[in-house]
Structures are given as structure tokens and as C-alpha cells.
Amino acid sequence: MAQAPALPRGFELPLEPRLPRIGSIDQVAVEARAGELAKRSIKKDAKVWALELALRCCDLTTLEGQDTPGKVAALCSKAIRPDPGDPRIPSVAAVCVYPNLIPAAKERLAGSGVKIASVATAFPSGQSPLDVKLRDVEDALALGADEIDMVIDRGAFLSGRYAKVFDEIVKVKEACGGAHLKVILEVSELGTYDNVRRASLLAMAAGADFIKTSTGKLPGAATLPVQLVMLEAIRDVYDETGRRVGMKAAGGIRTSKNAIQYLVQVHETLGPDWLTPDLYRIGASSLVNDILMQLRKERTGAYQSKDYFTND
């Protein structure tokens, strides 16, 4: 492994303020602010707009040991046309699968514009040697992944070996070439908002195109305050460097109401520029049907039962 610098860029005391200071997060205050934003009342046209955007920003995900080509193919059809009965409903942004399922997804998604995201780097724990992780990435790309969702080494992060985490992200980014790199912080394991902010800045300094909350394997993942902390870190990096890093909230977002709360936060923290699938993603599986149900309700005035929406 290459010799890491004593501290990654952004962690030294800057002689000139180039990168945002790491700073700290006040838990009570950040939770209060997230709570305030969650109370925005989004109605009528604004709601339809938000629901369609949430769909466009979805990474429709299946990351199970029992995933099969058949399951993934069905998921891909859903990704392309979430609601076969309504042509106005847009496709989702991407499907997110394990590397072995990429060929199945690729076949079904061909020509659709829906991207293939693959988890890699010894997902979900990240507790493997670096060369295994890099090989994992290379294979996923060779199989046809457009986007790589990597996990950081939380063991290294929590034991203070930030340089190791940093270097791994740099290497993975190199391996990605042109493919988009999303860096999963697995916030439930980081324990504090301070750590979430630290890991966010570290990942961005190391070259992440997106920072992502969670693997989806643990409860209490993408909470609203956690997303707020990450958005504020993204904002700081943008203000200091002009670089736009994307955000992906994953894990636990299941209802339309919830999805709108996440979008409101993005809107009021980073502004309308981030309200696009190029810079914002929601990793979800059951969310899509709830959005479809709400959209149909907005358009017809009546709720329909779950039987009217396909389970894939």
C-alpha cells in the first residue's frame, strides 16, 4: 500500500481556508432544524412535482442473498415503467444490485436510460483487503455497471485510521475511471453526527461523486438529521471549491410523505440545483409503490388498493 500522508487533505490546519474546517455538529440543534423542515406542508402541484422528482431520483434496490436473474429482471421492468397504466410516470434513475446480477439487469435495461449501480468493495462490511475491494470494483465495471456504490472501512474510521479510509476511496475512485462513485458511510455504525460530518468531508476530499448514508442493512439509517448533516457538508465543499457532490439517502425511506421531507431538506439546504437525479438519489425498494399510489390519488382524487400496483 502506498505511504499515506499523516493526515488527508482537509484535516490539516489550513494556512488558508481552502477546504471547509471540519467543525462539529450540535446534536440537539441539528435534530431541531431537521424537525422544523419536516413540517413543511407540500400540497397540490408542488406535491405532484415532488413525487415525480422522487421517482426520477430513485435507485430501485435489491441487495439480498436470494436475488436471482429473474427477480432482477422484474425489478428492471419496474424501473423502466413503474406504472404500466400511466405513461406520464417517469422511469427511476437506476437499479442497484450485487455484481453477479449486473448481466441480468443489463440485458433488461438496454436502451432504457436507467443506469446500473452495483455495490462493491466487500459490501456491506468493507472488512476485506484493499486488493480484493479493487478487484470487486473492476469486476463490477467489466460486467457493465455505470455506477459503483462502495462502502468505507468503518473499522478503520472508528479506530482513527482516517488515512486508510481516505486512501482506499482514492484507489477505488481511480479504479472507477469514468463511472460514478458513491461512497457509503454507513452512518448507523458511525455513532455521532460529528463522525458523519467527518466521514462526509473525508469521502468528498478523496473524490466521491456522491456520498451515501447507508447500506440499507441496518436500522436507523438515513434519518432526516443525518441527511441534513451530510447536505451541510456538501454545501461547505461547494462553497469552498465550487465542486458539486451528490447525495444519496438510502435505508428506511418508505413513504411518499417521507420522501418529500427529504427533498424539502435538499431544496432548502442546497437549493434547486441539487434537485436532479444527477445530484440526488434515494435508495429504496418499497417507496416506489407508495409514490405511485399517491400520484394516482392526486390525479384521480381516490386512493386505490395495493393490488393495483405491481410488486416486483
Binding site: 462539529s24 450540535d26 440537539v28 440543534a29 407540500i42 422528482l53 422511469s91 432504457s112 427533498l263 434547486p272
Partner: protein, 489 residues
């Protein structure tokens, strides 16, 4: 093209997300055309009336009574009549009534919240989430003390004073009513309360709650009117005056009461220092600054209107502050997404405009949030002044509006020196991650309340009140009972 391919032409994402209006319905509030005076459990007519408006569009809401000197005497007499029974019934009985009032307030919360925003101009999210729940919480809190006075003040004999004359301001009409009435009643006093001239309606609706709670007649009397009514109340046969409002009026009241045996507590103005150290949690501090000055359009006596920023983070902080200001939603107080509502009255708007003009003349640099203000009604855009010197009027005088003066400091000692360099001393804020510094600062700040890493937090159990020209006496907590009791050995 197959269906699938058609779908692959993803239409561009629309650019603008405008929140649709989300107005809270006013249907829940049933206003009468005219209101009388609530005296001795009855509605009495007054000879003179005036119209109370909604500051959001200057539309008339109702006619209310202008109580004369005779009306005031009448109300005070009714309170004296009720005092004998009220002060001698069991404490547990008084607490029963207070619990009832608290519960009814909580049950009718939406009604009160809508009316508060309608008559006062504050955003519905504040009246809904802060004013009304806190008002109910005060009644709950003091209901609990009513039968425990001997335990609250051990080795002393607590005795009610008699009739309390209470004069409250327009910035938190219902909440200030609760702050005044709940401890007075728990202690066994009876009350004559005068709401502010511009915001009488929630107090008048509260009379309905008193009736619902079957509070004995005369225990609470509510009279409306302008300053002359207040003056008449100060001069009447009351045993105590509790006043919340401007320092100017507070001083006038104190002069009038000098030499009488009437007790007095005053909650007056403020010019709070909000002190931000360079090791603070920056984004949360920005939220705290915003909340400190733009909460309730800055119509808050404890508003953090002087921002002291450690010079090493001055630029990034002001930059963040300006960006945050641009996201404030200014407009219809009844819209659920409104962050900053209407200025309470024409008179207050004039005063804000006058002081802001003075700030510009003195050479401070002004920045206003880019927002479109409604054409009708009273509005002022969220404003900050940078390049402010201690000597400027905008750093000295209470503006009582959405206007923040930004100053800088270098060391903790300098922060203390500048923060205390004011005739006021109601509240202060400290933002730092260093616990020891919080304690060091709190010891030295001459302010009744010091918030650390938060601002504008209130709780019924926590006393509130000022130093110096911010008044004397405490409201809230056990301290808030003392001014309503004779504590003999």
C-alpha cells in the same frame, strides 16, 4: 420504437419547485362583531370602542371595548369581591380549575393558534408549535403548585396578595396572559388583566375558556383598551401590578407607584448579545442566530439582536447567514410554510423603519433577504447590518423587529465587556463547543437568561426576567410564584 424505448427518453426535470399555498383555514374561529369587557363573569358593554385589525392585510376583525376609568374600577371591585373565597378555598380546588383551563386550552389549541396569527401577524407554525402549547404548559405547571405552597416555601407562610393588575404586550398575547394569570391564580390572587391594544382577541376568546372551566365569577377579569386603560389600572385599588412591555412605559409605571404599597414586577426591553465563538457548531449557530432574531419577526424582548462574532470566523459566518436568510419564507402568517410573518402594527413598522434608516445614516452596511413582500398589511424584510459599532443606535436601542446588528470580538474578555455594555440585561446566547467556556461566560454575562448553543427556549419550570433596564422580578418556575405571595415567617 418499442414502449420501453419511448420511456427511455427521460423528459427533463422541471427546474422550479414552488411550494403551493398551504393556508390554515380560519373557519375554526368564530369571531363576534363586537366584544365587551369581561368583568365578574359577565360581558359588560363599554361606551367607547375601537376596531382591531389583522396586520397581514389591515382588514378589520372585530370591535372591542375601550375601558374607561370607571370600567377599570368596576373590574377591580369585581376582583376584590372574588378574592375572599378564591384565596381561602383549598389549594387543591384552585389547582382543579387551573388544570381544567390547561386542558381546554390544549383542546382548543388550533382555534387559539389561528386567532393569534390572525390578530397578531405571527406565523401559524409558531402560534401552533410554540405560543399555544406553552401557554397550556404554564397552566399545567402552576396548577401543580397551587396545593403545595407550604412545601414550595418551607418555614414561611405563603399568603395571597389580593388583586393583581396585569398588563401584557402584543408580541405573545396568549402566552403572556398565561405567564401572568397562571401563577397569580395558583397563589390565590384574583386578576384584572389588560391585553395589548392591538392584540386583544385571544384574551377575549380565553374568557370563553374561563366560562367552560366554570371558574368562579370575578377571579379573572379581562378589560381591553389603550394605554389610558393601563394607566387607570395602575392607579386603581390593586395590590400588585405586573407589567410586560417597553422600558419607557415600565419606568412611568414605577414612578407612579413610588410611595404606594403596591407591589410591582416589570419585564421590559432587551438588546440581547448572541455570542458566537469560532469553535462553535457553525451551521447550528447560524440556525440559532436566525431563530434568535427572526422568531416572531423579532418582536421578542429577549431577541438576539446584537450578534457578536469572533473575528476569525466573521466572513464565513456572515456568508452563511446571508444565504440562510434568502431561504426564509416571508408572507401570509396563516400559511403553514411561512417562517416570518407580518409586523404587528403600523406604529411598530414606523419605529423599525426609523431605526433602520438611522443605521444606514450612521454608516452600517445593510443586507436584506431577497423576498417579495405582500402589498397590503405591515411588512419588513429580514435585515442584517454589518460594520456596526457599539455606538450606533442600532446597536444600542431595542428595535423590536427583524433587524440584526453584527459586531465582532477577539477574546472572551472582550465579548463579555461588549455584551454587558448595554442598559439592558434580559438574555444572552453563547455558542461554543467548549463546556467550560459556557460556564465561564454565563457567570459573567449580566443577563437574566443565558442560553448555550440554543436560543429562545422557554419552559414553564424555568424562571425568566431581567437585569438593569430589562426589569425586575421573575416569571416562570417557583420564582414566578414569589411576586404573587406574601411570605411571612
Amino acid at each position: 420504437m418499442t414502449d420501453v424505448e419511448k420511456r427511455s427518453d427521460r423528459s427533463p426535470v422541471p427546474q422550479d419547485w414552488t411550494y403551493a399555498p398551504a393556508p390554515e383555514s380560519t373557519e375554526i374561529v368564530e369571531l363576534r362583531e363586537r366584544y365587551g369587557l369581561y368583568v365578574g363573569g359577565e360581558w359588560l358593554d363599554a361606551k367607547e370602542r375601537y376596531t382591531t385589525l389583522s396586520p397581514r392585510d389591515e382588514s378589520p376583525l372585530a370591535e372591542v371595548a375601550q375601558a374607561s376609568e370607571a370600567d377599570v374600577r368596576n373590574a377591580v371591585a369585581a376582583a376584590h369581591d372574588a378574592f375572599g373565597t378564591w384565596s381561602t378555598i383549598a389549594g387543591s380546588e384552585r389547582s382543579k380549575y387551573l388544570f381544567r383551563i390547561a386542558r381546554i386550552l390544549a383542546e382548543r389549541a388550533r382555534e387559539f393558534a389561528v386567532l393569534e396569527s390572525l390578530n397578531g401577524g405571527k406565523p401559524i407554525k409558531e402560534s401552533r408549535d410554540v405560543d399555544v402549547p406553552l401557554a397550556a404548559a404554564h397552566f399545567f405547571y402552576y396548577a401543580g403548585w397551587a396545593d403545595k405552597l407550604e412545601y414550595a416555601f418551607p418555614n414561611r407562610t405563603p399568603k395571597a396578595l389580593g388583586v393583581a393588575g396585569q398588563i401584557i404586550p402584543w408580541n405573545f398575547p396568549l402566552l403572556m396572559l398565561a405567564w401572568k394569570i397562571a401563577p397569580a391564580l395558583a397563589a390565590g390572587n384574583t386578576v384584572v388583566l389588560k391585553p395589548a391594544e392591538t392584540t386583544p382577541l385571544t384574551a377575549l376568546l380565553f374568557c370563553d375558556v374561563l366560562r367552560q372551566a366554570e371558574l368562579p365569577a370575578g377571579v379573572v377579569n379581562i378589560i381591553t383598551g389603550d394605554g389610558s386603560t393601563g394607566a387607570a389600572l395602575v392607579d386603581s385599588e390593586v395590590d400588585k401590578i405586573a407589567f410586560t412591555g417597553s422600558t419607557e412605559v415600565g419606568k412611568a409605571i414605577q414612578r407612579r407607584l413610588a410611595g404606594t404599597d403596591k407591589r410591582l414586577t416589570l419585564e421590559l426591553g432587551g438588546k440581547a448579545a448572541n455570542i458566537v465563538f469560532d469553535d462553535c457548531a457553525l451551521d447550528q449557530a447560524v440556525e440559532g442566530i436566525i431563530n434568535g432574531i427572526y422568531f416572531n419577526q423579532g418582536h421578542v424582548c429577549c431577541a438576539g439582536s446584537r450578534l457578536f462574532v469572533q473575528e476569525s470566523i466573521y466572513e464565513p459566518l456572515v456568508e452563511k447567514l446571508k444565504k440562510r436568510m434568502a431561504t426564509l419564507r416571508v408572507g401570509d402568517p396563516l400559511d403553514k410554510n411561512t417562517d416570518v410573518g407580518a409586523i404587528n402594527s403600523r406604529e411598530q413598522l414606523d419605529r423599525i423603519e426609523e431605526l433602520v434608516a438611522a443605521g444606514k445614516d450612521e454608516g452600517a452596511e445593510m443586507y436584506q433577504a431577497p423576498c417579495r413582500l405582500p402589498e397590503r398589511g405591515y411588512w419588513f424584510a429580514p435585515t442584517i447590518f454589518t460594520n456596526v459599532a457599539q455606538s450606533y443606535r442600532i446597536a444600542q436601542e431595542e428595535i423590536f423587529g427583524p433587524v440584526l446588528s453584527v459586531l465582532t470580538f477577539r477574546t472572551p474578555d472582550e465579548a463579555i465587556e461588549k455584551a454587558n455594555n448595554t442598559p439592558y440585561g434580559l438574555s444572552a446566547g453563547v455558542w461554543t463547543e467548549k463546556g467550560s467556556r459556557i460556564l465561564w461566560m454565563a457567570e459573567r454575562l449580566r443577563a437574566g437568561v443565558v442560553w448555550a448553543n440554543t436560543f429562545n427556549r422557554f419552559d414553564p419550570a424555568s424562571p425568566f426576567g431581567g437585569y438593569k433596564e430589562s426589569g425586575f422580578g421573575r416569571e416562570g418556575g417557583l420564582h414566578g410564584m414569589e411576586p404573587y405571595l406574601e411570605l411571612t415567617a
